[in-house]
């Protein structure tokens, strides 16, 4: 069975600083996908970044980048130049290509002005 663990229930970062959110996962699948989603106070889930497991290159989207360590089954999210609008709950999830998307429990990010 696939599992996703986010060990940081809450994180804080100063505006304009960099923060890294941790995520570890477990899967027996050889091919799978990993995602980070952001859920702001509006509660709509917004895709932040996507990583295919077969790609060694870490995905990046503007200020957001991941550190994908396949052997360690680690998929951390780095947010650079943090902005007040980055304050949200962040969910890490994985899927192996079926309908099942396995979610972590989330990390609440606070951005301090």
């Amino acid at each position: 069975a696939q599992t996703v663990t986010q060990s940081q229930p809450e994180m804080s970062v100063q505006e304009a600083e960099t923060v890294t959110l941790s995520c570890t996962y477990d899967t027996s699948e050889s091919d799978y996908y990993l995602f980070w989603y952001k859920q702001p106070p509006s509660r709509q889930m917004i895709l932040v970044i996507r990583q295919e497991a077969y790609k060694q290159q870490n995905a990046t989207e503007n200020r957001f980048s991941v550190n994908f360590q396949k052997a360690a089954k680690s998929f951390s999210l780095k947010i650079s130049d943090s902005q007040l609008g980055d304050a949200a709950m962040y969910f890490c999830l994985t899927t192996s290509g079926t309908y099942k998307y396995i979610f972590g429990t989330g990390t609440r990010l606070k951005v301090l002005a």
């Binding site: 996908y33 509006s42 509660r43 709509q44 889930m45 969910f91 899927t95 290509g97 309908y99 429990t105």
Partner: protein, 112 residues
């Protein structure tokens, strides 16, 4: 571009009353559709998913049901609501299983 709509945005219903939440997707054909529930401060629980019209799979036994009467329409229903049905309901779609999901704005349901 693709968009996903959910309504209503907020709903307060008494215990024992029926429920109907609707989700529609625009700008894509034959999407995979999903219903999730999120309790306050918790992660998402998959309730139902559908890969085509009339094809519904249930993940969690409960008093909820889902239907897909049209390609881009997904409905979540209940004949009699329970207090435990309160929560935030999210509809999502994906092009194929395993690809990124796109979520609707959600419905906040309070059962009193």
């Amino acid at each position: 571009s693709q968009t996903i709509h959910q309504w209503p945005a907020t709903l307060v219903q008494p215990v024992g009353s029926p429920l109907s939440l609707e989700c529609t997707v625009e700008g894509t054909s034959n999407p995979n559709l999903y219903w999730y529930r999120q309790a306050a401060g918790r992660g998402l629980q998959l309730l139902f998913y559908s890969v085509g019209i009339g094809q519904i799979s249930s993940e969690v036994p409960q008093n909820l049901s889902a239907s897909r009467p049209q390609d881009r329409q997904f409905i979540l229903s209940s004949k009699k609501l329970l207090l435990s049905d309160s929560g935030f309901y999210l509809c999502a779609w994906s092009v194929l299983s395993g690809f990124e999901q796109y979520f609707g704005p959600g419905t906040r349901l309070t059962v009193t």
